[in-house]
């Protein structure tokens, strides 16, 4: 092989689900749609040790049945891994934006 070997490190993060419904139907649709927009391999788990599931599959993501208050572990491997983790954890932290009818707004975040 002539091409130089690029060693890419896998990076990971964790985020608390504060959406009232947990990672449910609509949130799962939004999460997987965003995950699919990255080329990185992205996986999620509800425990630090896994098992790790494909974050681009709604069947897997919703199948986690992660409730309100659960910690979601996300890891990514690829050229846009850093941006992927940042965007996905932001989506979770912002309660999947417009989806939540009682969206917290600026008052809802503890100082």
């Amino acid at each position: 092989m002539n091409s130089p070997t690029v060693v890419m490190a896998q990076i990971s993060t964790k985020v608390c689900i504060t959406h009232a419904n947990g990672l449910h139907a609509r949130p799962s649709v939004m999460f997987t749609q965003l995950a699919k927009s990255f080329v990185s391999i992205i996986s999620i788990a509800d425990k630090a040790q896994g098992p790790w599931l494909n974050a681009k599959s709604i069947v897997k993501v919703m199948g986690l049945k992660a409730p309100f208050g659960a910690i979601l572990f996300i890891r990514a491997l690829g050229s846009d891994a850093e941006l992927a983790l940042k965007s996905l954890s932001q989506l979770v932290e912002n309660d999947f934006d417009g989806d939540c009818v009682m969206n917290g707004g600026e008052n809802a975040n503890p100082a």
Binding site: C16, N21, H24, S28, V59, A108, N109
Partner: protein, 527 residues
């Protein structure tokens, strides 16, 4: 003359409908033609997934809001490769596309049905919808169009079948089903009368028979065939008027005092389908759900209370502190507690390190909205006094730490008979919320979850206790509300109104039927 049959079920969406009975066609599994080779079966599956997806895309084009969200969700599942790949693996090992798809989806449906969380359980219906759609396409069966104006009789109806049908008259009679399913939510939104849990009915009941479907405060009823008196009754009896649209703000008793309808909340997600404009507040927030997981912390509790206050937009929110222990099933933190005879406020006072966290979260949230606190299972005066002292103590700490907070009005649940009979001793409470479940249980010594004999507010002794609470509340100028199961039971409403109750806090799905029961009662005053 034909024999008249009546079948009773559960009212899921109010109204009535007369029309011919219609039933969905035969099951698809009798018709599937084997393709003879794994390659043939693979092509059949891939074709079926792409035609089924196209059907959903077309259906989505004519829908909006909640309906289009449901379709978008199903489309995402259908185009996910997980089920496809599992099915293809089974096809390679010799199964037909039909059998393989069925097996893969069946396993996933069983997985969702066994979920602890009710909301995740209900997703099994969506998977069944997807499963059936592919099976039908594989069998070359056309989509079944429901004829206009019929009463649909089925085990259950899928959300997409409901959305596809342009409802103009007609109704929905389900043998099973649930009043909180996606279909029930859609039926109420589109004002389609719906009755669930009719059971197996008559084996000989045939399509085309003229039937009458009634869904009202008295329950759900299917009459086959209706006689002239039935048809006359529905047009004359105000209790079965179709599409009643009671406005909560129009509910006023004979003295001009408003009747308030608040809701009970057991989890934040229940707010998703509700409109704060249509209710008078949240009369009871059960906070047990915040203690289910490992992550019981002040900020998460605070965030949950803030979400509720934001949703309520200034309307009162009564939050009950943790009510676990005793004979109440306690999967949460109370199960670690070694004194099982303590419950509600007794348990919280016995575990101040946990109670203080909830107090701090409540007071921080009270700064932002119309928040009230209700203490559960208060049985002696010191329960209230000790709790008030803890609130004052935490207020000082928050102030010293320069954290914004407000002291909320603090009331009590009235659910212990000795408290009900000596209510004046609890005059420091800001309000009284009657918990009819425990009150009845302890006053008549009925075990919780009693089978067989069920006594309720129609019992004269219970009615008189409630009457007493209302009159003491009036004398002390403290608001009184009922938030037990009785407030959600249309059959108990007349007794509660007669006892002087004007504030009700009920389970959201029961609200249309309770409003109707209140309207009926108020109408009878006018006569």
């Amino acid at each position: 003359m034909p024999i008249r049959h009546e079948f009773t079920g559960v009212a899921a969406s109010p109204g009535y409908a007369v029309g011919p009975l219609w039933m969905p066609g035969p099951e698809a599994d009798e018709i599937y033609v084997k393709k003879g080779s794994p390659a043939g079966e693979t092509v059949a599956l891939l074709d079926a997934i792409s035609s089924a997806s196209a059907e959903l895309v077309q259906l989505a084009q004519g829908s909006s809001g909640r309906a289009s969200e449901i379709i978008e969700f199903q489309l995402a599942i259908l185009t996910d490769n997980t089920f496809r790949d599992l099915t293809l693996a089974l096809i390679v090992s010799g199964e037909t596309a039909f059998a393989a798809w069925d097996r893969v989806l069946e396993a996933e449906i069983a997985n969702y049905l066994s979920a602890k969380d009710k909301l995740f359980q209900s997703r099994a219906f969506d998977l069944q919808d997807i499963q059936a759609r592919i099976s039908r396409v594989l069998c070359n069966l056309p989509g079944q169009d429901i004829p206009t104006g019929v009463i649909v009789l089925a085990d259950n109806l899928s959300p997409t079948a409901f959305i596809k049908h342009r409802w103009q008259g007609g109704g929905l009679a389900l043998k099973r089903g649930s009043t909180t399913s996606h279909v029930a939510i859609l039926a109420r939104q589109f004002s389609v009368p719906m009755v669930t849990n009719l059971g197996e009915l008559l084996p000989g009941l045939k399509a085309g028979k003229n039937v009458l479907l009634i869904s009202n405060a008295q329950g759900g009823l299917l009459i086959v065939p209706p006689n002239a008196a039935d048809l006359k009754a529905i047009t004359q009896n105000p209790a079965v008027e179709p599409k009643p649209k009671p406005k909560t703000n129009a509910l006023i008793d004979t003295n001009g005092q408003p009747i308030k309808l608040m809701i009970n909340l057991a989890h934040l997600r229940e707010l998703e389908h509700l409109d704060a404009k249509k209710i008078d507040g949240i009369g009871l927030v059960r906070t047990e759900f915040l203690f289910e997981g490992k992550h019981v912390n002040e900020d998460l509790q605070y965030l949950a209370y803030c979400n509720i206050l934001n949703w309520a937009k200034g309307k009162p929110v009564f939050i009950r502190t943790l009510d676990e222990g005793g004979d109440k099933s306690s999967a949460g933190f109370a199960s670690h507690f070694t004194t099982p005879n303590m419950r509600g406020i007794g348990l919280s006072l016995g575990r101040p390190e946990v109670f203080r966290v909830q107090i701090r979260a409540l007071m921080r949230a009270a700064f932002l909205g119309n928040l009230h606190v209700t203490l559960p299972m208060v049985s002696i005066e010191s329960d209230l006094q000790d709790a008030l002292a803890l609130f004052k103590d935490e207020a000082v700490k928050l102030k010293n730490a320069n954290i914004k907070y407000a002291m909320p009005p603090i009331g009590i649940m009235v659910e212990v008979p000795a408290v009900a009979s000596h209510l004046e001793r609890f005059s420091e409470a800001a309000h009284f919320s009657i918990g009819t479940n425990d009150l009845i249980q302890y006053a008549l010594t009925q075990p919780r979850s009693a089978g067989g004999r069920k006594l309720g507010v129609e019992n004269a002794k219970i009615a008189s206790i409630i009457k007493h609470i209302v009159s003491v509340g009036k004398a002390l100028k403290k608001p009184v509300s009922v938030c037990g199961d009785a407030a959600s039971d249309p059959a108990a409403i007349a007794d509660l109104l007669a006892a002087g109750v004007r504030n009700f806090s009920l389970s959201p799905p029961s609200k249309p039927l309770v409003s109707m029961a209140i309207h009926d009662y108020c109408a009878s005053w006018g006569r």
